[in-house]
């Protein structure tokens, strides 16, 4: 909701600067952003009463005082004879109809109204609708303007089953379904109550006689309708959060006054229908309770003063103003007091708790994680949604899309997708795992914590393992220690059903943690590494370029130097580097050392010239060492 600073301070007796106003709005819990004079407010859903100038001013008055600047029509109003029946007072306990006839609707807007549309109001529609929108901005009460000449028969309000198309005043067609609160004439829906009126009874620039509907709709009756029918509606936003049932007289007298500012009025008639409305409960006065909730030491005078500043009535009990639907208990009052004092001004008091000494992690999970991470596995976390529906799948009633309509029953498909994704990103040695709860249904919902791991490609990027492949023997060696071999079932996933041209075999293991005997964990240890929040570097989306070098070192005393220099190879464009081959010929006393360097830029695809330049920088100092060369170079 946007508010013009100049408009808001008209409602305050002090005129705070934008900075002071902003600070106090934050203190009261009203988040906002400021652009020039416009405050873009983001109010919490319990504070529907603040969705207007007067609403925010009522809250701010505790700091800046309030100004009685609302100019109301104070003349007599004739009673309106209207053929109306409310079939659902539970949904609409109070409704008023104001009929105004003017001489000419072609008018020039006063500066305050013109300014509203220039800064906040957006497009103008017609005099009556424009004033309705302005009043809603000022006072928070939405009103709807029917062209009175179009209401030719009995008007009804009801909450009824609908299955019909309705054309809104913005000329969009909406198909109403299920139960909705609607206004009808002769069974034809003319307005989706609290959300949007219809085209057939809308005002136009020619309208001279308007029927203004001013209602209190129960929030529960309106909630979800604007989203369901995709109608952007400021009125629905306000009704969903609750408007002030006691404001009709003021709102309609203000409406008349604004009309009067713009046109010559021929007649004014009003009729209200009230079916009773439950008042907010009176709350017993208990300042000790407030202090006990907040940890403060307020006395009664301070307590009452703060509450009165917010418009509360204090007698033998405390009564919230009619617009504060959110106040019911002492905890609610405590929050009011804390807002006035300022959350940041309430002192801090420590609690006394004893450190939990046992491991907060599930020990078995931590041990498995350590085993896998120590052996080069990377943990992934996947979304649990899948399009693959099985008998035991738990299905989502309202999925984001049909590809995500069921809960996965296994970790396998997710891990295969992860593997193929990384293969496409030129990864040659892939070891991934995921530990996650898996949910399936039988008679009841079954929850199992599962470990899934998948491997493919080179055993590792080092000189011992580079030419070996990850296989079932590797997994067997890693996972099977003193156990029966059938606890971890290692399966090969064949590539013929996968979207890939790679040839390396894929092996997969999935096991429910409860199926791993406790004895298995006796030989494992959980590494407790101190947390190190390293600064992340953005990942490149450009292809990498690989260069291999085969060093020949005929002076064994220089091997260490070469290794140390290779270890220090580092550059913004070098993504990875490792020794992939090491061979010492005992006869010739020559060491052959293979080194791989992978280049990648975050800015572009590297050209051969750029890569070769970097290669030169790496090789030059190493090749200066006596007895070190790259044969053929």
């Amino acid at each position: 909701m946007k508010i013009n600073y100049q408009d808001l301070i008209n409602f305050l007796s002090e005129k705070p600067s934008k900075e002071d106003l902003s600070q106090k709005l934050f203190q009261l819990g009203h988040e906002h952003e400021i652009s020039g004079d416009i405050f873009d407010m983001e109010l919490t859903p319990n504070r529907g009463d603040c969705l207007s100038l007067i609403g925010l001013a009522r809250d701010l008055a505790v700091f800046f005082g309030k100004s009685n600047s609302i100019d109301l029509f104070n003349g007599d109003i004739e009673p309106l004879e209207i053929n109306f029946e409310n079939f659902s007072p539970k949904d609409c306990p109070k409704i008023s109809f104001l009929e105004i006839e003017i001489e000419d609707s072609k008018v020039e807007y006063k500066p305050y109204l013109e300014n509203y549309f220039n800064t906040i109001g957006g497009n103008k529609a017609n005099l009556f609708t424009d004033i309705s929108n302005y009043i809603s901005y000022e006072l928070g009460q939405p009103t709807h303007c029917f062209d009175a000449e179009s209401i030719k028969a009995k008007l009804t309000f009801e909450n009824r089953e609908c299955n019909s198309t309705f054309k809104t005043l913005l000329n969009s067609e909406v198909t109403l379904k299920d139960r909705n609160c609607v206004f009808s004439i002769d069974n034809e829906i003319i307005s989706l109550a609290g959300v949007m009126g219809g085209a057939s009874t809308a005002c136009s620039n020619e309208t001279k006689k308007v029927l203004v509907e001013c209602a209190y709709f129960n929030p529960e009756s309106i909630i979800g309708k604007s989203i369901k029918y995709n109608l952007v509606s400021d009125a629905a936003h306000k009704f969903e959060r609750g408007v002030d049932i006691a404001s009709h007289e003021m709102v309609l007298r203000r409406f008349i006054k604004v009309i009067q500012d713009h046109a010559k009025i021929k007649s004014i008639k009003l009729k209200s229908f009230t079916e009773g409305h439950k008042q907010s409960p009176a709350i017993p006065i208990d300042v000790d309770k407030i202090n006990k909730i907040l940890g403060t030491s307020l006395d009664s005078n301070e307590y009452f003063s703060h509450l009165k500043g917010l418009g509360f009535e204090i007698s033998n009990t405390i009564k919230a103003p009619s617009y504060r639907h959110d106040i019911k208990t002492n905890n609610d009052l405590a929050e009011e007091i804390a807002r006035v004092i300022g959350y940041n001004n309430i002192k801090s008091v420590p609690i006394k708790l004893n450190k939990i000494t046992n491991d907060s992690n599930d020990g078995h999970v931590a041990k498995l994680e350590s085993l896998l991470v120590d052996n080069g596995f990377t943990e992934v976390i996947n979304f649990p949604f899948t399009s693959k529906k099985k008998k035991e799948s738990i299905n989502i009633d309202n999925p984001l899309d049909s590809n995500r309509s069921s809960f996965r029953t296994s970790l396998k498909d997710s891990l295969i997708d992860n593997l193929l994704y990384n293969e496409r990103r030129q990864k040659e040695s892939i070891k991934l795992f995921e530990i996650s709860d898996i949910y399936t249904k039988d008679i009841e919902i079954k929850q199992q914590k599962k470990l899934g791991l998948i491997v493919s490609g080179r055993l590792a990027n080092n000189h011992n393992d580079f030419s070996k492949k990850l296989d079932d023997q590797y997994l067997n060696n890693l996972l099977v220690t003193d156990l029966r071999e059938d606890v971890f079932e290692i399966t090969e996933i064949h590539r013929n059903s996968l979207d890939t041209k790679k040839k390396d075999k894929i092996y997969y293991v999935e096991i429910s943690l409860e199926d791993i005997p406790k004895s298995y964990f006796l030989n494992l240890r959980a590494n407790k590494k101190a947390m190190n929040f390293v600064a992340y570097k953005p990942v490149s989306e450009y292809p990498s370029s690989t260069r291999d070098f085969s060093f020949s070192i005929d002076d064994l005393s220089k091997v260490n130097d070469v290794i140390a220099m290779l270890d220090e190879v580092s550059d913004e464009l070098i993504k990875d580097s490792f020794i992939f081959d090491f061979y010492k010929n005992d006869k010739t006393k020559i060491v052959k050392l293979g080194f791989r360097c992978i280049f990648q830029s975050n800015l572009n695809t590297l050209s051969d010239i750029e890569v070769n330049g970097k290669v030169q920088e790496i090789l030059d100092p190493i090749l200066k060492i006596e007895g070190v060369c790259i044969p053929g170079m």
Binding site: L294, G295, N382, L400, N418, N461, V539, F582
Partner: protein, 241 residues
């Protein structure tokens, strides 16, 4: 040291894998809270409406309960939990105060855009005892944020609204660029919630807080796009060794 040992060292140091940064952050938060005195409790991701909403004073008319915000399963029998608070409800029903619990894990909201994911992680805490006050909550939140962001971090409490706490607050920290960043939500446990868990709200009071793990991880690691965490990209994940 022999040459070969050197090569082995080089290989080994580069051959380590890594835990997922979200799980690392979650475990870090849990450890931090365990050191203060919070014990971790566990619960299911598929929940009843009763535990996910009703027991937490989230009324039937609350927008969060609409089909466009919450995933429902199996003919509206259950929901994918929208927060880890129901775990605390389950634990409170089985315990007597004083209690200090944390619950952590995956939660689900029907959202999928540049800044929201349908699944993310929370760490929540609740403490119930006699004479627990908002002043205690303030101290605890300061303690947590000082552990996470250093003792000099500037902290701001703002009134907010959650059905399960009253008073409720959102807490911001001041970033290096001078912008306030929202970090967590918290409040004094609404007495209705205590009564729902058979805890006498005249005798006991509580405080509760919840942190978004992705939010903390993004701030601590400097990751700008939340979706990076769930691409399973080894170039990304391998950075968090």
């Amino acid at each position: 040291m022999s040459n070969l040992d050197n090569i082995n060292l080089l290989s080994t140091s580069k051959g380590l894998g890594s835990l997922h940064p979200i799980n690392q952050t979650k475990d870090h938060l849990l450890k931090l809270l365990a050191d203060i005195g919070f014990e971790e409790v566990y619960g299911p991701e598929i929940e009843t409406e009763e535990f996910n909403f009703d027991m937490l004073n989230i009324k039937k008319s609350h927008p969060a309960r609409q089909m466009h915000d919450t995933f429902y399963t199996e003919g509206k029998n259950n929901v994918l939990r929208t927060h880890t608070s129901p775990v605390q409800i389950r634990s409170m029903l089985e315990s007597k105060p004083p209690i200090a619990f944390t619950s952590a894990g995956k939660v689900y909201r029907k959202d999928d855009d540049a800044t929201h994911l349908p699944m993310f992680h929370q760490v929540e805490g609740i403490y119930v005892d006699e004479n627990v006050t908002f002043a205690n909550l303030k101290h605890l939140i300061h303690q947590i944020l000082h552990e996470l962001f250093g003792n000099n971090v500037e902290i701001r409490f703002r009134p907010s609204y959650f059905p399960f706490t009253e008073p409720s607050a959102e807490v911001d920290i001041l970033s290096d660029s001078g912008k306030w960043l929202e970090i967590l939500g918290c409040g004094v446990v609404n007495p209705i919630v205590l009564e729902n868990c058979n805890i006498d709200s005249n005798k006991y009071s509580g405080l509760a807080f919840g942190l978004g793990v992705e939010r903390i991880a993004m701030l601590k690691y400097g990751v700008n796009d939340i979706r990076e965490f769930y691409k399973s990209n080894l170039d990304f994940l391998a950075q968090f060794k």
